[in-house]
């Protein structure tokens, strides 16, 4: 295969991936309420669709919920995972092997197994329709990967670094804060952006735990927006773009972390 052919192939694939988005981007500026077939430039560009969609979908509330949930889930998951990874990998605890295994097992559990019980159990204690309930449930959902990720990261740190600090009389928290954290930011950033993505995109859990539509997150609200405005393609496209935008921005900024998070996850194991 010649180089030109190879780039031709790559470009064709890139077009196949991007065409749907170009399609909805164009559709979103067509006059609201109209039918849009496929690629066509609108006769007049209706930027107001974004404002209309924002109003119609009550996105001020939805985005606020999304932001609140993400703002707690990301730092807390990263924090708890770092502490646990440190304990399991560097400090060593009694029964540590079994606990690592328990976290790893959590990697294969589908959300479907948890949501039923989460809803009915948390309903008893008033944690449904509450940010606290969703936040804690999401942290529990992402911790298996988080702990696994931080644990294998700390295991890759040369032991001499830790031993040297210990010989100098450093206590556990000093070793973590002064020796390990400064060299761990790439791993922590990767974990943070991945957790951000999972939390932002989480659908089923929020749909179940937030029976009150006003408390739902942007993607979940979008899922129900379809039911109401299913035929208004321009409005629907504008709403989809609003929900996609934050995650795309984060992805473009941290693209390396996203892709490395995945591919390195493989190498580390």
């Amino acid at each position: 295969m010649t180089t030109a052919l190879r780039y031709g192939l790559l470009s064709t694939l890139a077009v196949l991936v991007l065409a749907p988005f170009a399609g909805i981007a164009l559709a979103s500026v067509h006059p609201a309420g109209g039918q849009v077939g496929a690629f066509s430039l609108p006769e007049q560009w209706s930027w107001s669709n974004f404002a209309l969609a924002w109003e119609a979908g009550n996105f001020s509330r939805l985005m606020w919920s999304s932001v609140v949930i993400v703002a707690f889930v990301v730092p807390l998951t990263v924090c708890l995972a770092t502490l646990a990874g440190y304990a399991l990998s560097i400090l060593g605890v009694w029964g540590g092997k079994g606990i690592s295994l328990a976290f790893v097992l959590g990697l294969t559990l589908p959300v479907e197994l948890l949501v039923i019980a989460l809803y009915f159990n948390l309903r008893e204690v008033g944690l449904t329709n509450s940010y606290t309930g969703v936040i804690l449930a999401e942290i529990a959902l992402f911790l298996p990967f988080g702990v696994y990720w931080m644990q294998s990261h700390f295991a890759s740190v040369p032991r001499e670094l830790v031993e040297a600090a210990r010989v100098d009389g450093a206590r556990d928290h000093t070793v973590l804060a002064r020796v390990l954290l400064p060299i761990s930011w790439p791993a922590i950033t990767t974990l943070a952006v991945l957790v951000f993505m999972w939390s932002w995109n989480q659908f089923l859990l929020v749909l179940v735990m937030m029976q009150d539509p006003a408390l739902r997150t942007a993607p979940t609200g979008l899922g129900l927006f379809v039911g109401q405005y299913g035929t208004d393609i321009p409005l629907l496209s504008a709403a989809s773009l609003l929900v996609i935008a934050p995650i795309v921005v984060v992805y473009l900024v941290f693209q390396r972390s996203f892709v490395n998070g995945l591919t390195q996850g493989a190498v580390k194991a």
């Binding site: 559709a27 849009v36 992805y251």
Partner: protein, 312 residues
Amino acid sequence: MASGALLRGNGAAGAGRPGGRPSRAPGRSRLRAWLYLLPALTVYAGFAIYSAGSTVWFSFLDWDGVQPPTWAGLANYTRVLTEPLLAEAILNGLILIVFFSLIPIAIGLLLTGLLLGRVRTGMTFFRTVFFLPQVLPLVAVGITWRWLYSDAGMVNQALEAVGLGAITRAWLGDYHFALIALGLIGTWCMSGLCMVLFMSGAQRIDPSLNEAAAIDGAGPLRRFRYVTLPGLRREVGIAAVITTIAALASFDLVFVTTNGGPAGQTNVPALLVYRLAFNEGTIGGAAALAVVLTLIVIVLVSAIRLLTREPK
């Protein structure tokens, strides 16, 4: 969930035993180490493990969520395996594996073979593009494809452009093609992921292996078969685990595109778990279906890990 399963599945694939040997610390400090572990363990045990256990418990009950539950024994499981609606949903989930997992892995391997080692400039751009469907909320992906598949949508337009106007239809509403159309959305999502994984894996294969094979007279095809493919064993395993979980546990995509229709042709387990538990109030049945789904995931993931294990 699919995106949630992404790396969670990845971890499962390779997470034999992370971590090295922790250094022996004296008794008191080992106790103190528990303090670092405790917050994560509490949240995980309280919300994940306890919930999983509860769901298993619910699966043996006859409960509508309001009245006190009664013991149902294995009745809910019998129902899952014998009631056509539920059994077909499980079958549909398994069919989706072909589109979410097998086809993307094949595409990924093919492209890796074609492109390997000869494309340098611009690779970051292509990688960023191919990986994009992985990071988007599946609800938005579903909404986009709903429109692409519609009567006057882009798919039909493209078909007409190449002279296949006779087969155009509203794909997601077609009794025979809806599940396939749904599956192909999965193919669109997962192929880039597989390709990015395999390309980065192939770059780690020792180049001298390839050179040695070339000197021995092996052509590109044979080199791919005997050098690249064995070298990608682990990446293929990881891709298979991630995509299989995404196929079996898919909910968001189906919820916004077909919601199980037409006439139940695209019912998947997750959709029925939701519907049984929260629309029809048969919590025992929903729990049993969720447990069966989890068992299928665990069996398949274990099988994949066994098959793609590094030879000792």
